[in-house]
């Protein structure tokens, strides 16, 4: 069983209205030191029945084709173990 964490985040060049709103809220709560907030998505995926290298490739493919939208997002896959 392969376990992976997939992080999907908006590309640096893309404005993040949610992150901006959270940033503004934090500053208004007195956390003046907060310079920027970017919001993203986090997935834990368990994948069975494949040898390690193939599992890694499949997880990469899932992240690229389905979990992220290449127009606005980038992704990072971390496979456990």
């Amino acid at each position: 069983m392969a376990r992976a964490r997939v992080y999907v985040t908006l590309k640096k060049s893309v404005f993040d209205p949610q992150g901006q709103t959270i940033h503004d809220a934090l500053v208004s709560l007195g956390y003046d030191g907060v310079k920027d907030v970017r919001q993203g998505k986090f997935f834990e995926v368990e994948l069975g029945g494949l040898p390690a290298e193939q599992a890694r490739q499949t997880l990469e493919e899932i992240a690229r084709k389905v979990l992220s939208n290449p127009v606005i997002e980038s992704y990072r896959v971390e496979v456990e173990g």
């Binding site: 908006l10 893309v14 404005f15 389905v66 939208n69």
Partner: protein
């Protein structure tokens, strides 16, 4: 004209769209279930608004993998007119039939309000015969309608004349306060290179009879008919 209105689990403007096409515009219409892949006999296909597959993951992200989308892609490839409204537009983007993506609205709020859009092209499936520069009033209802494309790609889109609608004031002026969601260059609707696939965020079906406050949306459905006559 015989129009197919695609129904995904979570579509919620399918019946309004069907009503506008059939009872307001007097066209033949039928529903097409998302698991169907038979579009035979149809002259045009509309992807209606709503929250297909709950918009889980991203708007339109799961819907694009449904069997009907393979058929819609093939239909569009053969030059068949395809109109995506709101969530239908987002699905067309995810499916790669139209460029760009929708970010959360600039205000981070779900917006349900009337807007004015200016017609920028009269040579697309959804605007055939509509005078360029005319302003249509229709409602929007979305949380993610903030059109985005990288700068160089949006430049190319403009050069190719593929911006079909822009948010403007009632008298057709561009103004920041007339851009409800922060869309890049106030883009409210675009088309593909061949001009037979069009997506727009406002809801023509919710503005197709005077009793609804505006009948401007009807002109878009009528343009679909005009585009077929011309083709």
């Amino acid at each position: 004209m015989k129009v197919g209105v695609v129904v995904f689990p979570g579509s919620n403007c399918d019946h309004d769209t069907y009503h506008a096409l059939k009872h307001v515009c007097g066209q033949e219409a039928r529903f097409v279930w998302h698991k169907d892949s038979d579009l035979s006999g149809l002259d045009a296909v509309v992807l209606p608004g709503g929250f297909a597959y709950g918009d889980y993951l991203r708007t339109g992200a799961i819907a694009r993998f449904s069997p009907v989308m393979r058929a819609v892609t093939e239909f569009a490839g053969q030059g068949g007119p395809v109109l995506g409204i709101c969530n239908g537009f987002q699905i067309l983007q995810e499916a790669g039939l139209l460029p760009g993506a929708m970010l959360r609205n600039r205000s981070v709020k779900f917006l349900s309000q009337p807007v004015h859009v200016r017609v920028e092209r009269d040579d697309t499936a959804a605007t055939a015969g509509l005078p360029v520069g005319s302003v249509l009033t229709m409602p929007i209802a979305h949380g993610e309608g903030n059109f985005y494309l990288p700068d160089d790609e949006v430049d190319r889109l403009e050069q190719e004349g593929r911006v079909v609608f822009r948010y403007t004031t009632r008298d057709g002026r561009l103004a920041d306060e007339a851009n409800p969601n922060g869309s890049l260059r106030a883009i409210a609707g675009i088309c593909n290179r061949e001009r037979n696939v069009v997506g727009l965020m406002p809801h023509p079906e919710r503005a197709s009879e005077a009793a609804l406050g505006s009948a401007d949306g009807r002109r878009i459905f009528e343009a679909l008919v005009t585009s077929l006559v011309r083709a």
